[in-house]
Every structure is written in structure tokens, then in C-alpha cells.
């Protein structure tokens, strides 16, 4: 599909020989809504809902034909694809849970022949088993297409220089944004996370205008710039930051905006649904537009699974409408939010999600990585010198410390052995959760013992 370029009026394009200054700094003038795909983004509600029904029916037909997991679920409910007549019938469809995706690892809930698969991503699970998420060629392109809408919605154009400071690899975050930014025509710098000195050099040398970064790293990077005496407003060209992968507050957004001199746009996504680009803020920054031609959103009561009306807070449930390789029906995201049904001044008809305020399970998001406390427990309990009690403490900008009680028998009087054990635990944890925590060994009986369900996580982060 060929698209017109969402070019800005009055934006000049210059080439400067022998330098990297091919792009002008972002224009500070207020931009009136721009669209990547205006027809879809501003489509009337009833037409949009008709499109959803049509795509949902097609999705259900496809999974009923080729995904054994759904075939079984449909059979249990006596459900036939033809029963689905309207969006109201959506609630007759089975939920898909995190556990269902793990249980089908590594084959996944694939609905196409193996040769159609073009990309694999994984997402962490609670039992050491990840979730396998497959994309077809078209799925990869669709994910990029949605990101392109998001970029343009915030005022990005092909003039922008996009520094992608997220983790590349099995996680969806960096790669999906990367492809979308290329589609818009930005110059993409695949910087990856960390190494602030290098990040700063890239920003200085290539005049990056847009960053994709976790909130914790953004806060850290701001203090780094300060320590280097860099004033981002004067010395750098950064104008926008896309921030997601971890929950953060409105206050943190303001802090980052002030410290980095950027406009921060909130981004929502999850690997099970392609990663970023599921919902994104427009220039009004009042909730994230969810691309309803690609996803159907429901809000349910996480306990009773009953649907909740617009505006009520509950668990977000998402159904894919355009996925080829791995369609997912009614996925329980465990993210707590609500739907804003009122029209947005930007003119987009796709409803908005409020900021995610929590999880209905105990998953932690640390430095953009999903971690379940059970993963940590599993690692610790496999170390013979470790006692029964441990505590995960999250504080600072995004620091994780695991306090571990030593077993009585784990002490032989030697400091060196304790230091070695501490290092071994750090390495084992790192291999499991893919981020490096701090480990503190403490004497047996030191950590608080709670009645009943032990409190394993203390979250004091300022995000």
C-alpha cells in the first residue's frame, strides 16, 4: 500500500554539504492536527464499528479453522464462527490468558503455515517459560503502520531524527518503533539503551529531535546532562520523547519535560499485541488513542470478568483484528485503566485509554523489563546457601535490590565465601530476568516475616 507523505506545510528541506545537518530543528510553531491515515483515524464511529465487526468475524473464522487452542475453546462453549453477529457478541468469545500463551510455548497460537512466519518476539513469563509471539510479513508492516500514525499524531515528520534508546532484541519495544519511524521517513538512530556518554554524543553529532526511552532512563539521563553541564534546550535539538514500557505518573512526565526540555508523549503497548503503538497520545496529551480498527478494547472487572462501562476503571482486554500470524481473542492484559469515550479535539474518532494505573497481577516492570516475583523466587530457592525469606526492593529511579536471607548452614565464617555467593546470585538472577539487580545477603531472621501471604515486593520508586 502506498501512502502520501504526511508532509508539513512550510517545512523547509535543506541539504548541507559535508555535514549531518540535513534536517532543520523542529519548528516551534503549534501544529494543527496531522494525520498519517486521516480517513481511518477520523472515520465515523458507526463505520468504525462496522469495520470492527467485519474484521472480528474474519478473525474468528480464521482461528476456528486453524488454531487448535481456539477450536477447543469454541467447542466447549458450543460456539460457531457464524454466531458472531455484532460487537455485543464479543463477550461470548473465550478469554485468552497469559498462561495460555505460555502453555503453547514455543509453538504459539499460530494461524498460518510456518513459511508465512516472518518474525519471532518473546515476552517474559512467570515460570521461566516465555511467550512466543509470531509475526507475518504483513503483521510486521501493520505494526509499523500503527507506529507511523502515532509519530505523525505527535507532530513528527520525515524531518525528524529519531534516537531509539530502548532495548533491541527479543523485546518488541525498540524494533517495532524502529520500523514505524522508518516508515514515516525519520532518520533512525538505533542507539539501544544505556551508555549515556554515547547517547549524548549521538544527540550532539546528529542533532536528534525525538527520543524513545523508558521513564527511569529519561530521569537518569537528565541528571547525567546536568552533571555534564549540558543544557538540553540550548545545546541539544531534542524536542519530543516517547515514553512507555513502564508505568509512570503525570508528575514524572512533567519532571522529564522540564529537565530534558521535551514534550513527553505517553505510549502504550504490550508484546502480545505487537508491542508499542497499541495506543498513543496525540498533541492534546489527554489519554492515548487506541487504534480501534486494529484492536477491540474492553474493560472488565478483573475479579468477576464482567464488562464495565466507559469511564470505569478495570482490566483492559484486547482482541486483535488484523493479525495474520497470531490472532488473539480477548487477551487479559492485567493492565488497569479506563476508556475515555468523549470525542478528542484532535478529530480522531478512536477512543482513548487513560494512563495505566497498575496491574491486576504481581508483575513488576523494571527498566522496561517484565519481571514476576516468582522468577526471582525460583532462582533463589535453587541456591542451597539461601534461606527461606527474601525481599525485592524497588527504589530510586528504577533500581532493584533483592535482599536475601542466608540459611543458617550457608555461613562458614568466611567473608570471601559470602561475597562470592552474592556475586553468584546476581549472575543467576541476571540470566533469568535479563536485568542486573543488586543483591544483599542478610543474616537469617533479619527480614520481616509477614502473616499469611508474604510481602515480597516493596516499591518505593519515584516514577
Amino acid at each position: 500500500m502506498h501512502r502520501r507523505c504526511p508532509h508539513l506545510l512550510g517545512r523547509l528541506f535543506v541539504w548541507i554539504a559535508g555535514g549531518f545537518g540535513r534536517k532543520l530543528p523542529a519548528n516551534p510553531q503549534t501544529i494543527v492536527s496531522m494525520f498519517w491515515d486521516q480517513q481511518i483515524e477520523t472515520m465515523g464511529r458507526s463505520a468504525l464499528e462496522q469495520l470492527q465487526v467485519k474484521r472480528l468475524q474474519a478473525t474468528v473464522r480464521r482461528v476456528a479453522k486453524s488454531v487448535p487452542f481456539y477450536q477447543q475453546k469454541f467447542a466447549e462453549r458450543g460456539l460457531k464462527p457464524g454466531d458472531l453477529k455484532s460487537l455485543e457478541d464479543l463477550r461470548r468469545l473465550p478469554f485468552t490468558a497469559n498462561a495460555d500463551l505460555r502453555a503453547t510455548y514455543p509453538k504459539g497460537l499460530v494461524a498460518v503455515p510456518a513459511e508465512e512466519l516472518a518474525r519471532l518476539h518473546t515476552s517474559s513469563g512467570t515460570t521461566g517459560k516465555p511467550k512466543a509471539l509470531f509475526f507475518s510479513r504483513k503483521d510486521v508492516d501493520n505494526a509499523a503502520e500503527l507506529i507511523a500514525r502515532c509519530f505523525v499524531m505527535t507532530g513528527c515528520t520525515r524531518d525528524d531524527i529519531f534516537q531509539n534508546m530502548m532495548t533491541y532484541g527479543l523485546f518488541t519495544g525498540a524494533l517495532v518503533m524502529h520500523y514505524g519511524a522508518e516508515k514515516v521517513g525519520c532518520l533512525v538512530i538505533p542507539a539501544g539503551p544505556g551508555n549515556s556518554e554515547k547517547q549524548l554524543l549521538l544527540m550532539q553529532d546528529f542533532r536528534s529531535t525525538v527520543l524513545h526511552i523508558t521513564p527511569s532512563y529519561a530521569l537518569y539521563f537528565a541528571t547525567y546532562l546536568e552533571s555534564r553541564g549540558i543544557n538540553p534546550r540550548k545545546d541539544l535539538a531534542i524536542r519530543k520523547a516517547f515514553i512507555g514500557a513502564e508505568p509512570y505518573t503525570e508528575e514524572t512526565r512533567r519532571k522529564i519535560e522540564k529537565a530534558l526540555g521535551v514534550d513527553v508523549y505517553n505510549s502504550y503497548g504490550l508484546s502480545e499485541m505487537n508491542g508499542p503503538g497499541v495506543a498513543f497520545e496525540c498533541e492534546h496529551k489527554r489519554g492515548m488513542h487506541l487504534w480501534e480498527d486494529h484492536y477491540i478494547a474492553e474493560i472488565i472487572d478483573p475479579q468477576t470478568s464482567e464488562p464495565l462501562p466507559d469511564g470505569k476503571r478495570g482490566e483492559l482486554v484486547l482482541t486483535t483484528l488484523c493479525r495474520e500470524a497470531m490472532p488473539i481473542l480477548r487477551y487479559r492484559t492485567r493492565d488497569i485503566t479506563s476508556v475515555i469515550a468523549e470525542p478528542c479535539p484532535c478529530g480522531r474518532t478512536h477512543r482513548r485509554l487513560n494512563r495505566i494505573t497498575g496491574r491486576s497481577d504481581d508483575m513488576l516492570i523494571v527498566r522496561g523489563v517484565n519481571i514476576y516475583p516468582q522468577q526471582i523466587e525460583q532462582v533463589l530457592m535453587a541456591v542451597p546457601q539461601v534461606g527461606r525469606n527474601y525481599l525485592i526492593v524497588l527504589d530510586g529511579l528504577d533500581d532493584m535490590t533483592v535482599k536475601v536471607e542466608l540459611a543458617e548452614s550457608g555461613f562458614d565464617g568466611r567473608v570471601e565465601h559470602l561475597v562470592g555467593l552474592q556475586t553468584e546470585i546476581v549472575n543467576r538472577l541476571r540470566a533469568e530476568i535479563l536485568t542486573k539487580p543488586k543483591v544483599e545477603l542478610v543474616p537469617p531472621g533479619t527480614l520481616p516475616v509477614s502473616e499469611g501471604k508474604a510481602k515480597r515486593v516493596v516499591d518505593n520508586r519515584r516514577l
Partner: protein, 142 residues
């Protein structure tokens, strides 16, 4: 066996810990003849030479902390320049690694306390050098 037995205690590295442990020992009527404390980040290990090992261990265990006996070598050396060097040279040339060392002079007698993973070998090479390895009783009666 002329190794010297220390009582090692694993503690958190925070204010009040030494006071807590020494009170336990004082209450148990245990006399401390020598002490060293090594800390590493969030934790530390205190090592005591005490007059009554078993009561000390029992008293500490009752209060909860992880405790363990630790065997070390106590070597008497001449109180003059080069004494520590002679010991280090001997152990080094025989491939004996030393983890922790401390030393003191009491009543004009110089003593080195050595922590090593190979006590029998360390003792053998030191005695061969003509150095005196002290017993627990000798250490306590210095």
C-alpha cells in the same frame, strides 16, 4: 591440632550491630581476647577469639545470627623488621594462599593470625622454618 578456633558471626552492616553482639557475649560471661571485623557492602563478619568458645556460640545462636567456628593459624614471630615478610615469603613460595591476616604484639610477643584454606600445609611449612604455631591455650594465655 594447633589451629586456633574463632567464633565468626554474620551481621548486617548497620549501626548497633557490634553493640548487639558484644552485649550477648558479655551477658554470657564470655571474655573477648581478640577481635576483627570485616565488612563488605551490606554485610560484615565479626571474628572473636574468646575464652569460652562453646558457650559463646550457644549464646549467639540463641539470639539468632548465623554463627560458625573458624579455624585460623596463630604464628609467633620475632618482634623485629622483616618478621612478617619471612612468613609471607615462606607461605608464598610454597603456594599457600592467605585470605586474611592480622597481627598484634602482647607482652613483647608478636603474633600473626592467618586465615587460609590449607591450614595443615601452612602449619607444616611454617614449622619447618622454625616458627612456633600457637595453640588455643597459648593464645589465651599470652
Amino acid at each position: 591440632m594447633s589451629a586456633v578456633k574463632l567464633v565468626a558471626v554474620f551481621v548486617e552492616n548497620k549501626p548497633g550491630q557490634t553493640a548487639r553482639i558484644t552485649k550477648t557475649l558479655a551477658d554470657a560471661g564470655v571474655n573477648i581476647r581478640w577481635v576483627t571485623i570485616a565488612s563488605s557492602g551490606p554485610f560484615g563478619v565479626m571474628k572473636f577469639l574468646v575464652d569460652k568458645c562453646d558457650p559463646a556460640l550457644e549464646a549467639l545462636k540463641e539470639k539468632g545470627p548465623a554463627v560458625h567456628f573458624l579455624d585460623v593459624l596463630a604464628v609467633e614471630v620475632k618482634d623485629k623488621p622483616g618478621a612478617l615478610h619471612a612468613v609471607a615469603e615462606t607461605l608464598g613460595s610454597h603456594g599457600v594462599n592467605v585470605d586474611n591476616v592480622s597481627g598484634f604484639v602482647a607482652n613483647k610477643r608478636a603474633v600473626l593470625v592467618l586465615e587460609t584454606h590449607d591450614i595443615p600445609k601452612a602449619r607444616a611449612v611454617l614449622e619447618k622454618q622454625g616458627l612456633r604455631v600457637l595453640t588455643q591455650e597459648e593464645m589465651l594465655n599470652l
